[in-house]
Symmetry: C2
Subunit: 213 residues, 2 copies
């Protein structure tokens, strides 16, 4: 059976995976880039954005596992963009430009379905109103036997964890206190008992924690 | 000037430093011993309890910094014991037996002051109704030029951090999701900006995070 995976998912010491006040200019709200600094410096990130350079150490080794073996992604609507409620801007096609780094079908969970949007490079956004189980079923079919990535944000990851649908969770604890935003861990008491847990701190100061079956 | 230090202070991934439902049999409530497992295996802990053995690796090196240079401790009443409100059991003298591991004056913050209790081995419990600043002034005087340790629990550590009275904070992130209890980080947004922060994961699976000036 194909796996359901979460990668490169950052969380602050106080458990927030995004800040407060998301907007066009601030995908992570008041958190700004602070949760993802460690990632911006990796070769994996630079390659995604067709920039050169970037580190090839442990942060990158873990970050690079994001892509291989993935046949589809599921993301929440707040990862896709800052709009809430009925779609007003139908031209919005995500934060990632015309060639998004996914290169697979991407299922966007929303209570306001709309037509699919095909991008360059193999990414197609599908907009579905579905439970985690239903979304996973569709994504698995689209993935053709490959793994499915749950791309975030925190509410989406939390729902899939609560439904016990995730096989591999890679969390990156960033040593900052965000104070407000969207919490990752709420309602997940005892989560570690369902997984093997490993931790490693890297020179960037973050701690990678992997939950695997 | 003497320093104000916090050592060996554990916190779960979701930011709880103690569980729910403290009682005589469960000082950490439903968390049980899970937040302190890493500590129980160190030589420092074994020595405190006059037991032999215990690890002498990185967990122990960090744990061992707890004692040296400390001239007084301040603790919250909930670290001292499970009683709330006016004291009913005046015989209660903490969880630590007749020779507690502190060996200094210990100031217990409470809205219900009572007479001091002198224990074996140099520990004396003083019960004071005081703000963090006032308590620190008293503890500094008692410490005779040595450092003051803020011993916990989470509400006490949080209050001293909020008042910016702490110079050295050693937090131990334990990769469990407690779900409920008392949170450490509430109201401390941007705490890291006041400190240099370092992290290291050890083979026990915990991550030591030090906040120093």
């Amino acid at each position: 059976m194909s796996q359901v995976r979460v990668h490169n998912f950052a969380v602050s010491l106080d458990g927030f995976s995004t800040g407060e006040g998301q907007s066009l200019d601030a995908p992570f709200g008041h958190a700004g880039g602070r949760l993802m600094e460690w990632f911006f410096h990796t070769r994996t990130f630079r390659d995604m954005h067709e920039e050169g350079g970037g580190g090839t150490g442990v942060d990158n080794a873990l970050a690079s596992n994001w892509g291989p073996g993935i046949g589809a992604e599921i993301m929440g609507r707040n990862k896709f963009g800052p709009q809430r409620g009925p779609w007003e801007d139908h031209d919005w096609a995500g934060w990632w430009g015309d060639n998004p780094p996914f290169h697979t079908p991407v299922f966007v969970l929303t209570h306001h379905p709309r037509s699919s949007v095909e991008m360059k490079g193999g990414t197609t956004f599908h907009f579905i109103d579905a439970s985690p189980q239903e979304a996973l079923e569709q994504a698995r079919e689209a993935a053709g036997g490959l793994d499915v990535r749950i791309g975030g944000g925190p509410s989406t990851v939390r729902e899939f964890l609560a439904a016990d649908l995730i096989d591999h969770l890679h969390v990156v604890v960033v040593p900052i206190v965000l104070g407000r935003g969207v919490r990752l861990w709420d309602g997940l008491e005892g989560l570690e008992q369902r997984f093997s847990v490993e931790s490693v701190t890297t020179p960037s100061g973050v701690t990678h924690v992997t939950f695997t079956r």
